[in-house]
């Protein structure tokens, strides 16, 4: 991605002419704006971007960006996005979606995406609820909360996306807040720039199903931190930091585990597999192995 040339694009280039279906006050607007700005800052051409989502309020996002988008099926943004990136390494690929999409039905794909380490960015818009289906428990809903599927309070221990991502050794982990556009934009930019699978956990409140105070509640807990580079690679440190103060939520780049991404490894395999051959095998050559 060329980022040094004089900037060619403005935010308007990434906007698409479709009014979001989101409720007013929804955190997703913040995420959308952050992505507009991040793409602008990275100055990547709209036609060189692919954004894949699952299903959910948050997953409507690709429809509002002037890129190659896909609002796919629930929980499968990661496989589709990885397929796209692996087949088209020159495209900037993002996967986006909700907490339910990514941690519930899509849970099985997350650790594998992390270990496969395809060079793409996954933005999880966590509202701690199922928005689109109207207010059911999500994997991040706090224990004890009342929802339509937990009318007598939830008895499920919530998941912690950042800790999971760290446990999965995701090569880049950050957290942002839909209400802090500037910082979130920075996180998205850094994530896209990171070579490998990057994960941005975004607190993106759903006032409709978690109440009007959710924004304020979160704003009171967040603190932007700058993790020292030396600590970024430690899983233990990341865990300790997340657990340190139950009353605080860290925003920032929280973990990094740089290593060759899948695309690079695949190129290495190509070279190994061609050993002894100075060209791409022809079809006729492939036939040889079937000669008796």
């Amino acid at each position: 991605m060329a980022v040094d040339a004089p900037r060619q694009h403005t935010v308007a280039d990434y906007k698409r002419d479709l009014k979001p279906v989101w409720c007013s006050g929804c955190g997703n607007y913040g995420v959308l704006n952050a992505i507009y700005r991040a793409l602008t800052e990275l100055d990547v051409s709209p036609h060189d971007v692919g954004i894949i989502s699952g299903i959910g309020c948050s997953s409507r996002l690709p429809g509002y960006i002037n890129v190659y988008g896909m609002n796919a099926v629930h929980g499968r943004a990661l496989p589709i996005a990885q397929g796209l990136k692996l087949a088209r390494p020159e495209i900037t690929v993002l996967a986006v979606g909700g907490d339910g999409d990514g941690l519930s039905i899509g849970m099985g794909h997350f650790p594998h995406a992390a270990r496969r380490n395809v060079d793409m960015t996954y933005i999880m818009m966590d509202n701690r609820i199922y928005g689109l289906t109207k207010g059911q428990l999500s994997p991040t809903t706090p224990k004890g909360d009342v929802t339509v599927t937990s009318p007598f309070r939830s008895i499920d221990t919530p998941m912690e996306p950042v800790k999971l991502a760290v446990a999965f050794d995701t090569s880049f982990v950050a957290r942002g807040f839909a209400g802090n556009l500037k910082h979130l934009t920075e996180m998205v930019v850094a994530a896209i720039r990171h070579p490998g699978f990057s994960f941005v956990h975004v607190l993106s409140p759903c006032p409709t199903f978690r109440g009007m105070d959710e924004f304020k509640r979160i704003r009171d807990l967040i603190r932007v931190i700058e993790v020292p580079a030396t600590e970024l690679g430690s899983r233990d440190a990341a865990f300790t930091r997340e657990d340190a103060d139950p009353g605080a939520i860290n925003l920032g780049i929280l973990y990094k585990s740089p290593r060759p991404h899948y695309g690079e490894e695949a190129l290495r395999l190509r070279d190994i597999s061609r050993a002894g051959l100075d060209h791409e095998p022809t079809m006729q050559e492939l036939l040889q192995e079937f000669m008796p």
Partner: protein
């Protein structure tokens, strides 16, 4: 009696090298220009249990595994028992066994009744005494077979040399062992059976299994992206791709499950690549939802389903044709897709190429309905022309079209709208599993839903027009018609040939395109027939049900279907057809 067609069965335990021996035969006859066809079968043990193979050899193209076995070699009577349901002997069968494991009393009468010719051979003893290892037992056995029945000796030596090329000492030892077997026969055996293969050597042919042929076909069609999850009996497609795609600059990625594999393929195809995944029944079931996405988002993907015994985990190692209905109908909603079925190993190659042609031309998911019977058998095939094809590339929007680009433009003749791919300036659009407008925006409007559904199904007419390839054999004006599909082709064709040789009139049709239904071809076939025999390897009679749902069948119908676990034999089909002839 000079034979031009011999069926050899070999049975043994893990260490006996039964399968290797069979492969040597196949390799040998193919290198000398004959045809062959080999089935393997294993016991329940994961490894090291009993195994068997059956090789048919002929100067003429081999259509099927044939009927009963002409020559049976068993290293162990106990193992043979375990395959009693799979090894059928003919009258006059030749049986070779190890003198170390004498024939059990109760077999004697049975074989006498069969007029079997039996030879006790010191396989093990020869191996131990003459080669100082038991491991050469199978090659000694090949020597015996070569000498007794005239199998191509040069070819077998060639096969041995090729197999152990990396280990020179081993080559020699085995070539020796082969000679020891031949010699022993010359010196000790009095031939009491009539089988002897007569043939004129010809140009070498290829040896291939269906799964490799499918993979090769895909690659020839331009597939450079494969995503898979291991499953029997489709695993070899992935293994082949793993070995070859990297060098071709492609990607083979092992996914966490079949949903992910299908998802990766959708993503890659959305990105413009020709992409494929292969699986078997359980995986196909899991891909149902992703198939629907490809359908509504009009993403061209190819899914190979190598059918096995079902339902659920069923019988993973055995064949069945019981995924037809799921392939056609699996996935909620009105979700168009194409289903085509290869009929033999060579056809796996052809249909794989065609699957991509259809997918790309019509932007629709294509299911290639193979099965264990063709996927894992070894067959001699004539060298392919891997360059002969005008491979189809999907229609992309031109410059004019990109002004106010509508990905799902309705006003096209065939329902196919030019598809922009990432990287193409001006082609940005949102693809969607949600019903959408021509521009790709979500909608819940009845009229749009209706128009877009019609557009997606409009393709069917043109697919049928272009791809209604059917195979027919026999006399067009016969009153008895046989309908079958996929891997049943071989036995059906052979049945027809046999009946024709007997001077009987019969006609048969094997469609390649199963869905959308090539009604014209069927109606043409049905015209004039009085009796229909429908043959398929499943319990429910899916193919017949499917035909009935589209054609008005006035004929008397004889349905011959049974669960899989074992492919049809020619005799089985022959008997059914003879009943009505």
């Amino acid at each position: 009696m000079a034979s031009t067609d011999i069926i050899i069965g070999i049975v043994g335990s893990g260490g006996d090298g039964v399968i290797t021996a069979g492969e040597f035969i196949v390799s040998a006859v193919s290198s000398e220009g004959l045809f062959s066809f080999m089935l393997k079968s294993y016991g329940a043990q994961i490894r090291g249990g009993e195994s068997s193979c059956r090789v048919r050899i002929s100067e003429q193209p081999v259509q099927s595994q044939g009927d009963e076995i002409d020559v049976l070699v068993t290293f162990s009577w106990a193992d043979l028992l375990k395959f009693e349901h799979e090894v059928e002997l003919r009258e006059g069968t030749v049986i070779l066994y190890d003198e170390d494991d004498p024939m059990p009393e109760d077999h004697v009468a049975q074989y006498a009744a069969l007029k079997a010719v039996t030879y006790a051979i010191p396989f093990k003893r020869l191996a131990k005494e003459r080669t100082q290892t038991i491991l050469t037992k199978n090659v000694i056995m090949l020597g015996v077979l070569a000498e007794l029945f005239g199998l191509p000796a040069k070819g077998i030596r060639h096969a041995i040399a090729r197999k152990f090329a990396a280990k020179p000492g081993v080559v020699e030892k085995n070539i020796d062992a082969f000679g020891i077997g031949r010699e022993w026969v010359k010196e000790n055996l009095e031939k009491r059976d009539p089988f002897h293969l007569e043939y004129t050597p010809g140009a070498p042919k290829l040896v291939m299994e269906g799964n490799a042929a499918t993979a090769l076909g895909a690659v020839v069609a331009g597939c450079r992206f494969y995503a898979g999850y291991p499953i029997t009996p489709a695993g070899e497609v992935m293994v082949w791709m793993a070995r070859h795609l990297p060098a071709l600059g492609g990607i083979m990625v092992q996914c966490e499950d079949e949903i992910s594999a299908a998802g990766m393929v959708v993503g890659a195809a959305f990105g413009g690549a020709k992409a494929m995944c292969a699986t078997s029944g359980p995986g196909l079931s899991l891909k149902s939802e992703m198939l629907g996405l490809a359908s509504i988002a009009e993403v061209p993907i190819v899914i190979v389903d190598v059918q096995r015994g079902g339902p659920s985990t069923g019988i993973p190692t055995k064949t069945e044709q019981s995924d037809l209905m799921h392939a056609i109908y699996g996935s909620h909603g009105d979700s168009p897709r194409v289903v085509i079925a290869p009929t033999d190993v060579e056809d796996c190659f052809d249909t794989a190429v065609q699957a991509f042609d259809i997918a790309e031309e019509f932007q629709i998911p294509v299911i290639l309905l193979s099965d264990q019977f063709i996927a894992q058998r070894k067959e001699t095939v004539r060298p392919f022309d891997v360059s002969r094809r005008a491979v189809y590339e999907r229609v992309k929007p031109g410059r004019a079209e990109l002004v106010d680009y509508k990905r799902y433009r309705l006003d096209t003749k065939t329902g196919v709208s030019p598809m922009a791919v990432p990287g193409m300036p001006g082609g940005q659009y949102p693809a969607s599993g949600i019903e959408h407008s021509e521009a790709g925006d979500p909608t819940s409007r009845v009229d749009t839903h209706s128009a877009l559904t019609e557009k997606r199904y409009r393709k069917y007419r043109y697919i049928i027009e272009k791809y209604s390839f059917v195979r027919t054999y026999g006399d067009e004006d016969a009153e008895v018609g046989i309908l079958g599909w996929g891997s049943s082709k071989g036995v059906i064709k052979e049945t027809v040939l046999r009946l024709q040789a007997e001077g009987r009139k019969v006609h048969c049709m094997i469609p390649q395109l199963l869905h959308p239904f090539p009604k014209e071809a069927f109606d043409r076939f049905l015209a004039g027939k009085k009796i229909l025999v429908v043959v398929e390897l499943n319990y429910r009679g899916m193919f017949l049900q499917f035909i009935r749902s589209r054609c008005d069948i006035k004929q008397k119908v004889v349905h011959y279907g049974r669960t899989g676990g074992k492919p049809f034999s020619v005799r089985e089909i022959y008997d059914v057809v003879r009943e009505v002839l």
